[in-house]
Amino acid sequence: MAALSGSELASRFVSKALEMGFSDVAVLVEDVSRVMVKFANSQPSVVQRWDISVASLYLSKNKRLYTGSVVLDRLRDLDKLLHEISYVVDRVSESELYAPLPEPGKKAGGFSFVDTRVVESMKDPSRLAELVLEASAREHKVDFTAGKVDLWLRRKHLATSTGALLEEESTGVEVYVRSFKEDGSGQWGFSSRSLDEKKIEETALKASELAHESRGRSPVEPGVYDVILSPLVFSQLLNVVAWMSTGLSVLTGTSIFADKRPGEQVASPLLTVWDAPRDEKLPHSTGFDDEALETYNKPIIEKGVLKNILHNSKTAAKLNAKPTGNAGWVSPRAWNLVVEGGDYKFDELVSEVKRGVFITNNWYTRLQNYVEGVFSTIARDAIFLVESGRIVKPLERLRIADKLPNILKNVAGLTRDTYDIMWWEVRIPTRAPYALIRNVNITKHFV
């Protein structure tokens, strides 16, 4: 007998679990083929290849919840697995977040997109790695370059006790590059569902340009500055905000929206941020969520107003709202973020600043207090002083230490051009512009 496919195994599991008395069952099977070339010191440091099939499980009985994940092969031993799960579920207490799985939407279905060029490049990624290394050294002769080229093909199959049997297939690309020249460094990133060699080349060129321009750094005094954030930095901070916009974050006290309601002004009227699972270019696009609900694009913040908390059926029931196609069986999530661009060209944005700082990259955002959004993050790589509307010189590292609500409210300008960003610190693919934020608290070490 031929081995059962992921979909068949998932369906068989759902049927058997229902027979055994579970009321809600879902199985998400993901087959991932992925190749990553990681490079450092202007050469590959390792090439990694994954071929992995994993089944994620959701079951409930008498309002008791179980989630799990096993390698797909374990799903073949159906009886053993279900008896192990029953043993646990029969002994735990009811979940305060239980809600029945919702009926799948009429249009719930695949949003497949496979770029065959991605699949071909996975067989031999050396050409793309060479392109990055060559482009990095092309114009500014950097000292060395690091980064990665990451390519994947992902198939997901979802079977649920509400009758859904869905499949989707997609490709993705993530490239980021960090280049170094003397005491300068620069970083840029790009992500997509398809291969775009020109964008990859531009990513490498941008990193080397920033490294070149940020040589000869000067210190700057701490204080309150107008700050221009690059799309990398703005994306990173909005990734934190997006995570805070989920129902589970609200319920577990890790959100600046814990005491807010949709309709409240939480940001500058210039700021609109979408959760965009239906965007055709960003790599985490999907047609259905883990509960088999159809996904749809929706604003999290629209013209500064909180519009949507992201929900699965459980957090929605608990907070008296509707599911938003963002399951996660227990934890909802944003799929992709799209920040609407503004009216400015980059040079015009800079011309709005009398004395300020332009930050091109950041990392290590940590919070003192999630409810009030007290945080700091470190600027890294190229940072510049802006005076009288001009970029005047590169700066040494510094921190933004402020409150997230202040950052959101003080957005004073956005560029028309936006960039599709993903890198180590930006895990939700984000399309973002450059942003001017007024009155940001900047610190550095005292001694």
Partner: protein
């Protein structure tokens, strides 16, 4: 499984690999999560598969598979070798393998109270007790949210290398994390996220005094919210609590001592190091600045006896009496340093390549009691715990914001201060230590590094440390 791993090694070697490492790796996690005393869900995650790493023509390849058949593993081997070969043409400086004392050994961590023989209700009961007792002690303010996560895990590995290493290990671990939000209509919010972790069984819950510790802390933090004042603005003596000292050891001694980071391998991700090659002996602090990384501490969260290249683990002095002393090495960095690996390579799971990681990193203790440390402080601040922290990617400029913190006047604790900020350089911290307590305490954490990012369990620790006068900042309020 050993047979399959041997076949993998033979296949890769026949295809031209000069080094092969095959690892069967299984992580079995059981998780319970609760909010305000009520269970949210139970969860079991089993990661199981084989990871194979090969060195071919100076190029390093890694492949992993969740298909545990002969063909599945051999296919992973063929892909690892083929892709490494294709990239070898881009190697300007081919990778080499240095020496390391590899072992042929089996070991496992003993358990006093096994997870499977501990009733689920005893575990779930922890959540209920924490919520009810926490609410009782927080009176004028209110305990708004208590989120808990309980994770028991068992990690099993079988590692074989083409050079004859054989290591089979089983390490059970327990983790307990919580997030607590205490609020007051006028005073705002204080919040605490904290983790406990160790290797062993359910007996660790009692050892950690989970309920008593958290409930006591809830009462104290409610007072911080209601009573705390701004920290002094002039330079003062600062007593840094062992929890923050441990984090500093991890961030500003452990990370910059990772040889792969020093050599630039993590440059685009976890960053670089202020330590450059050839800087052994660099003066980073005074004679009190000694930091050790030791994976062999029994019961520790970062425990292992052999690393994932099959090399024997041992304690390492990262900083010794103020000087950069020894780095964390795997076999590849050992070759660059013309030394031998000290057994610091770890992989998070079967789908991860082994990279250089810390284990249990700590500042060595001194010989003072806590009372002796503060008795001659005329005016100062004691920072016991923290929430916010970060450090730049070369591990030089760092910031820690205190949560539970006290004013010290004439040798006594005199009320709370709110959000004092210690923002200083690595050299300033290690050069400013004037005294250390004799109490060495450890704290659990999950350390992130690598691409894809790998989180591995670690302890960080230290004594309470007294610093000479220093200026504190204050977090935005």
């Amino acid at each position: 499984m050993e047979d399959l791993l041997q076949k993998a090694i033979a296949e890769a070697s026949s295809m031209g690999a000069t080094y092969v490492e095959a690892r069967y790796h299984k992580n079995d996690y059981f998780t319970l999560r609760a909010r305000n005393g009520n269970l949210i869900d139970s969860s079991r995650e089993v990661e199981e598969g084989v990871g194979v790493r090969v060195l071919v023509d100076g190029s390093l390849g890694f492949a992993s598979t969740s298909t545990l058949s002969n063909e599945g593993i051999l296919e992973a081997v063929r892909r690892a070798v083929a892709t490494a070969k294709r990239l070898s043409g881009l190697m300007k400086s081919p990778l080499r393998l240095g020496p390391g004392r590899t072992g042929r050994v089996k070991y496992e961590v003993p358990v006093v109270k096994s997870f499977e023989n501990t009733p689920l209700d005893e575990k779930i009961g922890l959540f209920r007790e924490l919520w009810s007792r926490g609410r009782e002690v927080v009176k004028e303010a209110s305990l708004k949210v208590m989120f808990n996560e309980y994770v028991e895990s068992i990690e099993e590995k079988v590692i074989l290398t083409s050079e004859g290493a054989y290591v089979r290990s089983t390490i059970p671990r327990l983790y307990f994390g919580y997030n607590m939000v205490i609020s007051h209509p006028q005073k705002g919010v204080v919040q605490r996220w904290r983790e406990f972790g160790g290797s062993g069984g359910f007996e660790l819950v009692e050892k950690w005094r989970v309920v008593g510790t958290i409930v006591e802390e809830a009462g104290t933090l409610a007072r911080v919210l209601l009573e705390a004042r701004a920290p002094p603005s002039e330079p003062v003596e600062v007593l840094v609590g062992s929890e923050i000292v441990g984090l500093m050891a991890h961030e500003s001694a452990g990370h910059p001592s990772e040889a792969d980071r020093i050599l630039g391998r993590e440059a685009a991700q976890a960053g670089m190091s202020f330590i450059k090659k050839g800087m052994r002996g660099f003066k980073v602090g005074n004679e009190n600045a000694t930091v050790v990384d030791d994976p062999t501490i029994p019961g520790s969260y970062g425990f292992f006896l052999y690393d994932d290249e099959g090399v024997s683990a041992r304690p390492k002095y990262l900083y010794r009496e103020g000087e950069v002393y020894e780095h964390l090495h795997n076999r590849f960095t050992a070759a660059e340093y013309n030394t031998e690996s000290n057994g610091s390579a770890r992989a998070m799971n079967y789908a991860s390549e082994p990279i250089i990681r810390m284990s249990n990193t700590y500042v060595t203790p001194g010989d003072y009691t806590f009372e002796e440390l503060i008795e001659d402080i005329e005016y100062g601040v004691y920072i016991k715990s923290y929430m916010e922290w970060n450090i730049d990617d070369e591990r030089w400029s760092q910031r820690y914001v205190g949560l539970e913190a006290y004013l010290i006047e004439k040798g006594e604790l005199k009320g709370f201060v709110r959000n004092p900020v210690l923002e200083l350089t690595t050299k300033t911290f290690y050069s400013s230590i004037v005294a250390k307590s004799k109490d060495l305490r450890f704290y659990a954490g999950t350390c992130g590094k690598g691409e894809p990012s790998q989180g591995v369990p670690v302890w960080f620790g230290g004594p309470d440390v007294k610093l000479s006068k220093i200026r504190l900042g204050v977090a935005p309020g």
